[in-house]
Amino acid sequence: MIEILESSPLNVNVFRRRALIVGLIALAVCGIGALINPGQFFRSYLLAYVFWIGISLGCLAILMVQHMSGGVWGLVSRRVLEAAAATFPLLAILFLPVAFGIRSIFVWAQPAASLASNEELAHAVQQKQLYLNVPFFLARAAFYFAVWIAVASTLNRWSRRQDRTGDRMLTSKLQGLSGPGLLLYGLTVTFSSIDWVMSLDPRWFSTIYGMLFMGGQGLSAMAFVIAVLAILSGDKPMSEVVRPAQFHDLGKLMLAFLMLWAYFAFSQYLIIWAGNLPEEIPWYTRRIQSSWKWVGLGLIVLHFMLPFVLLLSRELKRNRRSLTLLAGIVILMRFVDLMWMTGPEFHGGSFGVHWMDIVMPVGIGGIWLAFFATRLAERPLLPIRDPYIEDALTQAAD
């Protein structure tokens, strides 16, 4: 079994070429869009970027969780998680357009004179200037990427060394890094979600915001892992290892993240709705008193209710095809959720979806997936020298 895994590396050439071509075409089309409407280009870019980095960050977090918790599900999904976490250097480069377009994206980055018409907004921006200013914003972003690249590359490096040497000590080293790593993840995601999304409306704040993003990222990542494992397990050798029992476990974890996300999202809504304070409620009135409310209702039904009810079924979780279909819906709805969070800020509270909002994620996604596939194909699809792998394989074969 292990020999097969070692000797048959994944062939991703065709996929990589296709993903790159699709991605580059989509980005080229958006490039034309940038000439027509540069402001919209940057705003659509932020949405697409936050979506894809969410998958990478979620995978990084789950990678550390599985190092700490152990379990067969972690062993079979570890390589997918590691490959997704290895995309941070690419994502750091892809962040550059956000930095360039900062004045088109964030109200607070515009010169004070342009805000003069809205006194209340100008006041809020002025009060938060100590935190919300361009140099500090960029310095913070640089710090987040330094942390994410350092943690992800160290985890990947040790795991690669274990592939070569089979050193058991590395397992406890990986575990030792994962604890503090998760704390760093929590702090950086909290700050980055405030920086990149919450500050779109500089007046509004919500203390649960970081948690809401973590829940969402975990959910995106679980759905992504399920989708990738479903494709990989279509062929030997992974079809021998990733069995219904593993999909069952992964499905349960996706359900857990789904419930967590819904819990956070509902907590935020209920408390702000009940408080009905002038400094908070506008964020929701923009979303429930315009046509955005249909998107919001769609989120309740398709982002929560439908996946929740379906994931309660044991049969569905054990069925590769139906679980993958559901994971696809979840990934799509994650994007819609982010659109619901950002869109009303960009369209002055009224409903609007630009064609670049749809094309841009395809563009970034194509490049991201090509990079991911390259990383995934570099090594065997399972951690073949992990001390627990033998047990896991026999367990999976049962």
Binding site: S206, I208, M211, L270, I271, G275
Partner: protein, 452 residues
């Protein structure tokens, strides 16, 4: 005989000894904790007679020690469910000697916590008006109030955790029944519900415990979330915070694990269960406690940082009073007790011993009580309009009531250990059998059936 065989042959006598033999220490414990409880009952009687004015409460601080105790004890009650249910659901083998200690904490802490809103009522005997029942006075509870949700959530949780405590108790009750004589035999016969240890009974029990473990987790989370909404649904500064639900739940689990570690250490020492509650259990619970300590730190940080970022004037006043104002000594004591000292103790393997984890737990319990106090009182003493600001000092009545809760808890726990085996006998034996058969796929045999 090897060491393990000696252990195996002694399981019944070791674990049932506290039930059948009563030492002098037990009477002393009951006397001390009972007198604390009596003192609290006296204070409560005095309060009923003179009115709630005998507490230090006054406008604007209308909630203080009592609601702190309410939130604190409901928090402690999260030890049982969250530890026992999560460990059961994830199939962690080391849980076996720990589960019952934890489940008992849940039930008793919940009973104590739920008392306080009633104690706080001007007319405690009318608390049943919360229940929506048809009545001629046209009373109908306000469904929009989280205080009413509390009533439903806590009762659901109490019922659920009683069932969850009772189900795994049945085989052990049968064990006591078979050893006991006379009246005791009769009582345990009724309590063990005709348990004979047949295959069908075992499989049903296992299924029922499994289902309850899954159900009780969302119930537990909902309870402390709703407790947090008592505060967050208002628009008071630093209460009206979206993170409150998970923040309270995390704090609850945190203090619950700390209470569990302390209870286990006492039981281990008093009943000489060194062979059952081993350093590994304290180590593992210590690691969970470490995780919760970091999580607690994250939540506190996120809550305070985002308030600071939000920069609301009324929030800032409360924020300042905690960080550097009148409440600063308590605030920093809380940070030291919940994070600064326990974190290194729990993180360094050499210090994560039994005495290390117990010391950390004691600090955490104190720190978490302070946390609940600091959530409640600074906000109330500084409402949005400054003309209304005030301060708060507890009176002897509140302090006695608070001390009484600890006495009551110890008393209930001591009585529980007298009536029921505090370490689940059958679960422990099942673990040993499973370990013997590790690797084989055969159906695990039971060491304990009818009378062993």
């Amino acid at each position: 005989m090897s060491k393990e065989d000696v252990l195996k042959s002694n399981i019944n006598s070791d674990l049932l000894r506290p039930v059948f033999k009563t030492g002098i220490g037990w009477y002393i414990t009951v006397a001390i904790s009972g007198s604390l409880l009596l003192a609290a009952m006296g204070a409560f009687g005095y309060q009923l007679y003179s009115g709630i004015g005998v507490w230090g409460l006054n406008r604007p601080v209308m909630w203080a020690f009592d609601i702190t105790n309410f939130v604190f004890w409901i928090g402690i009650s999260h030890a049982g469910t969250l530890i026992s249910a999560i460990l059961r659901v994830t199939g962690a083998e080391w849980r076996r000697p720990v589960t019952r200690c934890a489940e008992a904490i849940t039930v008793f802490a919940l009973m104590i916590g739920a008392m306080f809103p009633i104690v706080h009522l001007g007319r405690p005997y009318l608390f049943y008006w919360l229940a929506p029942y048809p009545n001629s006075r046209g009373l109908w509870p306000n469904y929009r109030s989280p205080l009413l949700w509390d009533f439903f959530a806590i009762n659901t949780y109490l019922l659920g955790s009683l069932i969850y405590l009772y189900l795994p108790l049945i085989p052990d009750l049968a064990l006591v029944r078979d050893k006991a004589k006379g009246l005791r035999h009769k009582i345990y016969s009724i309590a063990s519900l005709g348990w004979r240890g047949t295959q069908v009974q075992w499989s049903r029990l296992e299924k029922a415990v499994g289902v309850m473990a899954v159900i009780i987790i969302p119930v537990a989370v909902s309870v402390h979330t709703i407790v947090s909404w008592d505060f967050a649904m208002t628009i008071r500064p630093m209460w009206h915070s979206t993170i409150f639900g998970p923040y309270f739940v995390a704090g609850a689990i945190f203090s619950g694990i700390a209470a569990l570690i302390m209870a286990m250490a006492v039981i281990r020492k008093v009943f000489h269960l060194e062979a059952y509650l081993k350093p590994i259990h304290f180590n593992n619970l210590g690691l969970l406690l470490l995780t919760m300590s970091l999580l607690w730190f994250y939540f506190t940080f996120a809550e305070y940082l985002t308030s600071y970022y939000g920069n609301e004037r009324v929030e800032k006043a409360v924020f300042q009073s905690k960080i550097s104002g009148a409440y600063a000594p308590l605030f920093w004591a809380m940070v030291v007790c919940c994070f600064v000292i326990p974190m290194p103790i729990l993180a360094i393997k050499k210090l994560r011993t039994i005495s290390g984890t117990v010391a950390a737990s004691a600090l955490i319990v104190v720190g978490m009580w302070l946390e609940r106090f600091l959530i409640i009182v600074p906000t109330l003493s500084q409402p949005a309009l400054p003309f209304n600001w005030g301060s708060y000092r507890p009176t002897w009545v509140e302090i006695t009531l608070t001390a009484g809760t600890f006495g009551y808890f110890v008393l209930l726990y001591a009585v529980f250990t007298k009536l029921f085996p505090i370490v689940a006998v059958w679960e422990f034996k099942e673990g040993l059998t499973l370990a013997d058969h590790a690797g084989s796929v055969a159906e695990p045999q039971r060491l304990v059936a009818h009378g062993d």
